[in-house]
Structure formats: C-alpha cells, structure tokens
Symmetry: C2
Subunit: 262 residues, 2 copies
C-alpha cells in the first residue's frame, strides 16, 4: 500500500480537486483506493456528493479519538470508512469536529503517529491511499504528512508560489529532524494554467527548471473542473473529454508509474 | 477605531488580496490604518514587499506571547508594529512561528481575548484595523474574530461557495453562545468574477438574493491583481486604472460608508 498526501500551504490551489480526481481515476486502474479527508471543511466528500451535514456518519473524528486499542472506546478503522463512494473507491469523510479531536489527542505521546497506525490497520485492503491535506500548519496536517510515503504539491500561478513549495519542504525537513521521519516529495504540479496569462506562462518553465524530474506536469484552467463539484461529480463523470479530465488522466498515469502501481 | 476581519473558511478566495488592497486604499482616505496578518503564511506582508525571512522582525508571535502586563516578558503593542509600510498604513507581520504561539497561550483562561486586548492598547492611533484571517478553524482565527467588530467574507465562484459563508455564520453563532460575543457580518463579497463563465454569472444574483443589503458587490477576475503581489505592490501602485483597482476602490467606498468612517 502506498500513501500519497496532496498538500500545499497555500489555499485554493487545487488540493481537493487533485485528490478527488486522482483517486477516482486510479481507483479504476490500480485496484482499491482509499481517499482520506484531513481538512475540517470536509470538501473531498462534498466533491463526491457526500455532505457533512449527516453528523452521524462516522469519519475522521472517530478515527483519531477512538484509536487506542487498549481503551474501551476503541473502534476498528474498517468500521469508520464509507465504502464504495465510487467503483473501487472508499472514503474517510471529515467535518469541523476534527478541531475538537485535535484537542482530545493533543496530550498523547504518540499523537503524530495515530493516522499512520490507523491506515496500517487496513493496509491489506488498499493499493493506494490519497490524503487531501488542509492548507494549514496544524496537528491534523502533521498527522497526514507523518502517515504519507510521498507528497504532491499543487502550485497555482500567482503570488508567492515558489514560497509555498519551499515552505512545505522546510516543514518536511523540520519533521525529519524532530520526529525522525518525513515523506518524500514525489511531485510539484502546476494547476489552473491559462496560457493566455503571463503568470501561467512563466510558472511552468520556472517549476521545470527548479524541480526537474519532480515536476509532475500541469493542469489547465478548465471551468468544468469548477462546475463538477457543484453536482457532486468527478471530472470523468461530468465531462470525460474536457481538458480537465485529460490532464488528470495524464497525472494519474504519471503517479501510477512513479509509485510502481502498474 | 473599527476592527474589520476579512475571513472565509475556503482557501484561495481572495482574503489577502482584499485585506491588503482595502487597507492601502482606505489608509489614504480615512486616516491611519493598521493591517494585521493572522495567517501563518505571512502573505499580507509579502504582498506589500515585506518578506518573513527576517525572523528578527517582531510581529504576531510576540504580540500574543508577550502580552501579559503582569509578566516580566511583557512587551508593549506599539513596539511590535512595523510602521509606515505605506503612507498612513502600519502592519503587524506574521510567520509560521504563530503555530508555536498558539501552543504557548493555549493554557491561558483569557486566550480568546488576547488580540482584542492588544488592539485596545493602540486604539487611539488608528481609525481602522483590517485583519487578514487564515482559512482555518483554529485558535488564531478565533482570536481574530473575537477582536473584530465586523467581518467581510470573500466568495469565489466554484464548489460549495454558499457553504463557505454559511459555515462562517454557524461559527459566529457558536462563538456568541460559548463566548458571549461575535462580530457582525458586514458584507459578502463576490471575487474573481469572470462574466464569460456560467459559475460567475450565477454567483452574483445568488449572493444578492441570499444576502440583500449585506452583498458588498463584486471584484472582477483581473490578472493584474495576481501580478501585483509578485512585485510587492498594491493594485493602486501597479495598475491604478485596471478593473482590479476600480473594483477595490468601489469596495473601499462601500466599507467607509458602512463603517461610518467618512
Ligand atoms: N484547473 C482548474 N481550473 C479551474 N478551476 C479549478 C481548477 N482546479 C480547481 N479549480 C476550482 O478552484 C477552486 C479551488 O480548488 P480546490 O478547492 O480544489 O482548492 P484547495 O487547494 O483544495 O482549496 P482549500 O485551500 O480551500 O482546501 C474550486 O472552486 C475548484 O473547483
Ligand atoms: N480578482 C482576482 N482576479 C485574479 N486573481 C486574483 C483575484 N483575487 C485574487 N487573485 C489571485 O488569486 C490567488 C489567491 O488570492 P489570495 O491569496 O488573496 O487568496 P486567499 O483567500 O488569501 O488565500 P489563502 O487561503 O491561501 O489565504 C493569488 O494568486 C491572487 O493574486
Ligand atoms: Mg481543499
Ligand atoms: Mg491569504
């Protein structure tokens, strides 16, 4: 099982769009995939048509808080997963209660390892786990990075793009120093690329030069990628021949090869 | 003195762009303005050409941690402000150390009031304080909302836009219940509006209908707004006759009137 985190310290760069469409595409191709939402907004579920309103749906809060096998409140991980949100794709949904979970686990010595341990419980069921990491430096994103084998960083044209990637790399180095582990940087992905705009035209060669083989390609700005989530559909269900669908298929192939999943 | 928070639970919707350009425009018109960066990225300073590399520049970490007047480490608020980043505009910069500050103040009974108390220390110097609030539900954003008299919520076209505003309103209601105070919703601002796209065309009437007099107007998608921060310039310095500059001037006038600053 390979655990891949989609993380960026900048907001609105396409983390959730990438996590959801990558998971949906690879679920058909490489076997069973688990999509993990580590953002308190619960957007990954919403993009697939699951609302977080149904507070009674178990998810990340239970995963983190009822995670100690020696405690009577323990609940096995496989009970807390929403099965078959799409063919071959399961989901751990999230909602704002995760902020409460952070407080409840803050005192545990092993808190940074909790998600990694929970994913180990189900490692025989999935080829790939994809984690949508929220934009903030907090305990939830630390758990996600500690559980991940590798990271993909989406970068959109605009202010301080390179600082976003370097900020994450600095964070990974600090993790390695303090906790003895950090995921590898698998790829830097240019998103929302519109060839008509100078910022987009500059970003692609900038990233290629700075990151070489770690450059994962680019996703064109495509309004269908923004419309699909409103209908709770992946880009492949909504507009399978759109530039967005084509670009995320190319990314999926690039990831499958790098992760030696095919 | 009026304290206005620019907040949205969704990332990348134009919070920092709005905070910086609104502060710069109003600093000329209504008197002295203080821009407060409550986001660990430190983007507000970067948009104005101040990098967070100079770790030795005092800012939000010191504001929060050395804030107890009875403690020998106390440092007065006016010492920690970067003066005259533009005519009539001062700045409290931020950097990732704020995550550390959150841990250091987590045990204090009055932690949610710390920023509000610090701003009171300088209330005789400023007509207006504008706070750029990061996209997450965390202690830093709670302090920002508790210190604010009113909130403007930027909303960009795309997935779950209305849920973003309603999520914030729910949070304000919960604050009122638990802490006995919450800021008023001054305005909902549509951002990145491109008339050629259906999602943009739908968003404006949607918001007008849902929020009536609280609808603050819209900012057109304008590439100059994305280019200006790369040069450390406000939109007024970079392209004063661009659609971005015109739209932010209109917003500034709307805010000045509502806040009775003129
Ligand atoms: N390539 C693209 N072309 C056009 N729109 C896009 C593209 N990628 C994402 N979007 C839209 O941009 C907005 C932001 O994308 P998304 O929510 O995936 O970003 P995010 O990084 O997950 O944001 P957050 O920081 O809030 O978690 C959404 O409305 C999405 O539909
Ligand atoms: N009206 C606009 N037209 C075009 N680009 C814009 C507009 N407003 C903001 N941008 C660009 O979009 C990107 C996101 O904007 P900004 O950083 O202000 O959002 P934010 O909500 O502060 O993000 P975060 O959640 O990371 O704090 C930036 O690159 C910015 O330059
Ligand atoms: Mg997201
Ligand atoms: Mg910002």
């Amino acid at each position: 099982m390979m655990v891949l985190a989609i993380a960026a310290e900048k907001g609105g760069v396409g983390k959730t769009t990438t996590a959801v469409n990558l998971a949906a595409y690879l679920a058909d191709r490489v076997g069973k995939v688990l999509l993990v939402d580590m953002d308190s907004q619960g957007q990954a579920g919403m993009f697939l048509g699951f609302t977080t309103e149904g507070e009674d749906r178990a998810g990340m809060y239970e995963m983190l808080v009822f995670s100690d096998p020696l405690d009577p409140t323990y609940r096995p991980a496989d009970e807390l997963i929403t099965l078959n949100v799409r063919d071959g794709l399961d989901l751990i949904p999230n909602n704002p209660r995760i902020a409460q979970a952070e407080l409840e686990i803050a005192g545990r010595e092993d808190r940074h390892m909790i998600l990694a341990e929970r994913l180990k419980e189900v490692s025989d069921r999935y080829q790939l786990v994809i984690i949508d990491v929220g934009p903030t430096v907090n305990l939830a994103s630390l758990l996600a990075l500690y559980a991940a084998d590798a990271v993909i960083v989406p970068v959109a044209p605009g202010a301080a793009t390179r600082a976003g990637v370097e900020g994450l790399r600095t964070r990974l180095r600090a993790m390695r120093d303090r906790l003895g582990y950090a995921p590898a940087l698998m790829g830097v992905l240019a998103t929302m690329i519109d060839r008509r705009e100078r910022l987009s035209r500059n970003l692609v060669p900038d990233l290629q030069e700075a990151y070489g083989p770690t450059y994962a390609g680019h996703i064109r700005r495509n309004v269908h990628l923004a419309e699909a989530p409103e209908r709770g559909l992946t880009i492949f269900e909504y507009k399978p021949r759109s530039p967005g669908a084509i670009d995320y298929m190319a990314l999926g192939d690039w990831v499958a090869e790098r992760a030696e999943l095919v």
